[in-house]
Symmetry: C2
Subunit: 294 residues, 2 copies
């Protein structure tokens, strides 16, 4: 994996902030916070919060100033992984190279750690995110709740479950990906832009970038599931195939999928041309996504 300096610098900021928001002691019931910290502080890529920081930055805001919202989005992402891994859903035992939350803490704690993280996401935004205009906070919450709910992540996950073991067409596969992972990636970009006061035209270009980026991200994830090793992938490779899940490689083959990922990353960078700012942080993140499978 090639790590450019930009995402790595920002990842460290997020790690620090998450540890501060969820300190190791002083919270009750302890077991709940232990389960939350176990999953939240387990070394993810922090891709979504980095997108928040980068997008705010290109529109002139100090990335430090959007950290509460960025961490909130990582809370939502982590909660969704905990619930996805549950026996009743994907039934995964390994995540980020460690036993999944329900293996380590039991199903009941995993369900509630996920629920707790989702609540904390909105609390972080409402309580901790400073702004020059509270309407922006309300707008951010609208974006995040829609992206993570039935018209976003939850809807995509439901269709993924309903499609499992069935032969599905490309449109269904795209619906699943756009909703299950794409909406939260798009919201991360839009939220950074909203807080930094981007115009409607700029917000549209950001959304366009984010949609291509989300596609590149998902195709790359599918590819990694085929060619990855447990160590670098952090989960057992081949799990999509074992679960009979439709993926880009299963529909297009591995080589063509790689071309599609490259094209989506290029399209993402192309979309940045509609923004009259230095968009290099976002361009580097598109490269970062595509180069994950190297």
């Amino acid at each position: 994996m090639l790590l450019s300096k930009y995402p790595e610098d920002k990842r460290l900021l997020i790690e620090d902030a998450l540890t501060n928001f969820f300190p190791p002691t002083g919270n009750y019931p302890e077991l709940l916070y232990k389960a939350i910290r176990y999953s939240l502080l387990s070394g993810g890529k922090r891709f979504r919060p980095i997108l928040v920081l980068a997008t705010a930055e290109i529109f002139g805001m100090n990335p430090i100033d959007v950290i509460p919202v960025a961490c909130a989005i990582e809370c939502v992402h982590t909660y969704s992984l905990i619930h996805d891994d549950l026996p009743a859903i994907d039934d995964d035992n390994i995540r980020r190279g460690k036993p999944t939350c329900h293996i380590a803490f039991g199903e009941d704690m995993a369900i509630l750690a996920g629920d707790g993280l989702f609540a904390e996401a909105f609390y972080l935004i409402a309580k901790r995110q400073k702004t020059d205009n509270p309407s922006k906070i309300v707008h951010v919450i609208e974006e995040l709740s829609e992206a993570s709910g039935p018209r976003g992540m939850v809807g995509g996950q439901v269709l993924d479950i309903l499609s499992s073991g069935k032969k599905i067409d490309l449109n269904t596969l795209k619906f699943i990906h756009i909703h299950k992972t794409g909406r939260l990636i798009r919201a991360s970009c839009r939220i950074g832009a909203i807080l930094a006061g981007a115009s409607a035209k700029e917000l549209k270009a950001v959304s366009n970038y984010a949609e291509h980026l989300g596609l590149a991200f998902q195709i790359t994830d599918d590819i990694l599931d085929v060619i990855g090793k447990t160590a670098s992938l952090g989960k057992e490779p081949g799990s999509d195939e074992r679960k009979n899940k439709a993926t880009f490689p299963s529909i297009f083959g591995l080589e063509h999928s790689k071309e599609l990922a490259k094209k989506a990353a290029d399209d993402a960078k192309e979309a940045l041309k509609d923004i009259d700012k230095d968009t290099s942080p976002l361009a580097s993140l598109a490269d970062f996504v595509f180069e994950r499978d190297k």
Copy 2:
């Protein structure tokens, strides 16, 4: 059960609004919305949203104008019931006289219907709740997310699980109740008051009322679990005892528990004296809670 006209009128408003927010057709994936509607529109008391309406009303706001927030709180309440009923948590088969969500739709759909409802709650507030001041919306979201998260409902549920089958003292029982049900009841009252522009002093009195009310509500619930019948209770009575859960009757006996419920309802009404408005709607709701076991 003695139903005064006030809660019944308001309940009908809430039923209509919930049905409008979650219409029977036009949403995708259909099965997800079917599971959400199944649980949300199954005839609950709508106690929490009625509290929002009543509190807003006593501070001079038209109850109609806080309906989105009131419905959001019912979404949070319903989501918590769906997740509590799951096999890994309380493992309940009947709720409001019908099979629980996971019995009717499977565990995966129940987990995701709950997750979806929680997201929709924040969306309803951010997108649909009108206000003269967006800071109030941010404040409302802070209250709701804290009340429903690890320092509220989720924390109480975790301690309830950890205490199950153990002999617990009164302080632990109170912690469980205050967090598992009390915080959301308090938030419902505070949120109505916040939207209607109550002063800090008034907000404190409202919180005081709500804390006593929450206690009266929970003791009455515990009593109903002992003496209730499935038909009026909507679930199987005696489930607390079967699960070896600590309750007020198990610690204080039935008769003394009834006295404690009466005292808590009286204390709630007493707290209203610090509010220099016509607080009769809130007083009638305290009677309504206490008289549920009649």
